[in-house]
Symmetry: C2
Subunit: 344 residues, 2 copies
């Protein structure tokens, strides 16, 4: 059942069918109804490929979840972290009549294949999350002029990036808040479990920690920084080391909740009580954070809001063609739970 058939049955030409389908102004109500009746009757829908071939528009946006881990447990993809982001992107895109093609990238070399997806014309734009800062394959995509929105990223070479926009959480501010919160609670020796410093959020969070210390007149000590990778296991390892410091720091600021939870587990194993013996603050406020014991004090990131911004902005970019290169910074908020103790 294609437009030719519909045209024949309705007694008009293919062009007229097309005009009706596309809601052209210059078709009289009478013919419109006549054609619509046949369209409804035969459940005619224009073929997507034929349409995008001529319109040069696929009406779909690509969602690229980059989830690379040092050691990959093959077959186990537990990136529940991206779940609210993904769900929101799909929802907002669908609302604006866009389809979403989702990809998971588990190794950086797979990112090269992503470029071809754009070249094939399979997507009109892309949304990226989880990319390490300055990633070469991504820069290539930007340089070829494809429209993309990136979460947790910093675009270099701004003049070439007329079609790239960026959405970040206020990582620096959040880390500052978290650390300051610990300081206000009387903590003076605060360790930091840093995240993956190849990611913008990793860098910004350690910076916020540092600034809070400095502004409070506390010394930033290298031996209190533990380099993780945002995974729980690295938080666990860091905590094992922290437990061996004497005197032990009274508090830990972890760059995300997963590492905070890994650390909690390690402390628990060693008989170190939270928050009695050590306080801990995380970042992200993932679903689990409120379920662990004690419930984790953390910095809430509004991933769904970031998804909304990314999607709406990129759709605007496609639809309007404007090269209004945005950089959004989404506010975060400290959520106090029970993993921090006030000293003295």
């Amino acid at each position: 059942m294609d437009s030719t058939d519909i045209a024949k049955i309705a007694g008009v030409s293919r062009s007229t069918v097309s005009r009706v389908i596309n809601n052209y102004a210059n078709v009289p109500e009478q013919t419109r109804e006549k054609v619509m009746k046949v369209i409804k009757e035969y459940n005619y829908v224009p073929h997507a490929s034929a349409r995008s071939l001529v319109k040069k528009k696929s009406q779909t946006i690509g969602l690229f979840i980059i989830d690379v881990h040092e050691k990959m447990h093959p077959g186990i993809y537990n990136n529940t972290y991206f779940s609210p982001f993904t769900a929101s992107v799909i929802d907002y895109a669908n609302r604006k009549n866009y389809f979403v093609l989702t990809f998971s990238v588990y190794r950086y070399d797979e990112l090269r294949k992503v470029l071809d997806i754009f070249r094939e014309g399979r997507v009109d734009a892309g949304i990226f999350i989880g990319v390490k800062n300055g990633e070469e394959s991504l820069q290539k995509i930007i340089n070829e002029g494809y429209k993309i929105a990136i979460v947790d990223y910093e675009i270099t070479g701004i003049e070439t990036a007329k079609n790239a926009l960026v959405i970040n959480a206020d990582n620096e501010g959040g880390a500052y808040k978290a650390t300051t919160y610990l300081i206000k609670n009387g903590h003076k020796s605060i360790a930091h479990i840093a995240g993956d410093l190849k990611k913008l959020s990793g860098i910004q969070r350690i910076n916020g920690y540092r600034r809070a210390l400095q502004e409070a007149g506390l010394e930033y000590k290298d031996e209190l920084i533990f380099y993780g990778d945002f995974d729980a296991e690295s938080g666990y390892k860091a905590a094992k080391e922290i437990a061996n410091i004497s005197p032990m720091p009274t508090a830990v600021f972890a760059a995300n909740d997963s590492m905070a939870m890994g650390a909690m587990e390690a402390f628990k194993e060693d008989g170190i009580k939270i928050p009695d013996d050590i306080s801990i603050v995380g970042f992200d406020d993932i679903e689990l954070a409120s379920y662990v014991h004690p419930p984790l004090t953390t910095v809430r990131v509004f991933l769904h809001k970031m998804a909304m911004l990314a999607t709406n902005r990129i759709v605007d970019l496609i639809d309007s063609g404007t090269t209004n290169c945005h950089h959004d910074i989404v506010a975060v908020e400290l959520v106090e739970r029970a993993s921090v103790r006030a000293l003295r």
Copy 2:
């Protein structure tokens, strides 16, 4: 940069370029190399729409997450439950060179739009999860002959469904195991918080509960059945009612973990200790289950395995064209944690 350009530069015809791209046998190594060189040099990739137009194949499968709730908190999509399923589908599909178009359906009437996605030729096949049993819109899709795999569903009218396959967890067996486990632990008065009985899993789980009771010679009592909808809130409400029964049942089998956790919260509020005062078993083994206190004893469903089966089966169906209508039942396993107490 299209095939015409490549052809011109390489000094051959479009047909030859096509033959090279598609790895046809009858092109000599020399021309192949000559053409490939140009293709590489100009990063030529065939246009997806043009290709699927003529091949009548989009090389993408649709993933439809049906997530309808009675009362929808607008804008908040917390379906972390589907996350491992989604991630696995995408991964397995990508491995077999398929793309995945994902949709979330939050209201049943939106399901009608899904049919058009098939008609548009946007997807070669679809995978559905979360549909209520016998859903009309889905039956329509099946009847029009589209290739689909459904999770948690029962296909009626088997002769018309040559292209539909089904993947289910062993819900009945799992519920039987869970209930029997409680019985073996000395429980005789076991309440059941049923799930959404419009879903196959809801029905099968209550059936397994019933069979376990019967085989143990225990009476199935209507007043011990509480009708929920798989959401935490309904579990919470059920527990509030259970707490008022006297004598209170010594155990509860909830048809999923969310309801079990809702129930735990309610019991906690009422000062009812788990497992001291009441034992509880859930179903699914979602990530949270091991983090709540006490850690929840539950029945593990291998969603990623079901995703793998669904994806591989549907890809086979597309590629081979065979109408080998499968019905898989994926085994489940009881995971003992700390929410059940042995009586006496």
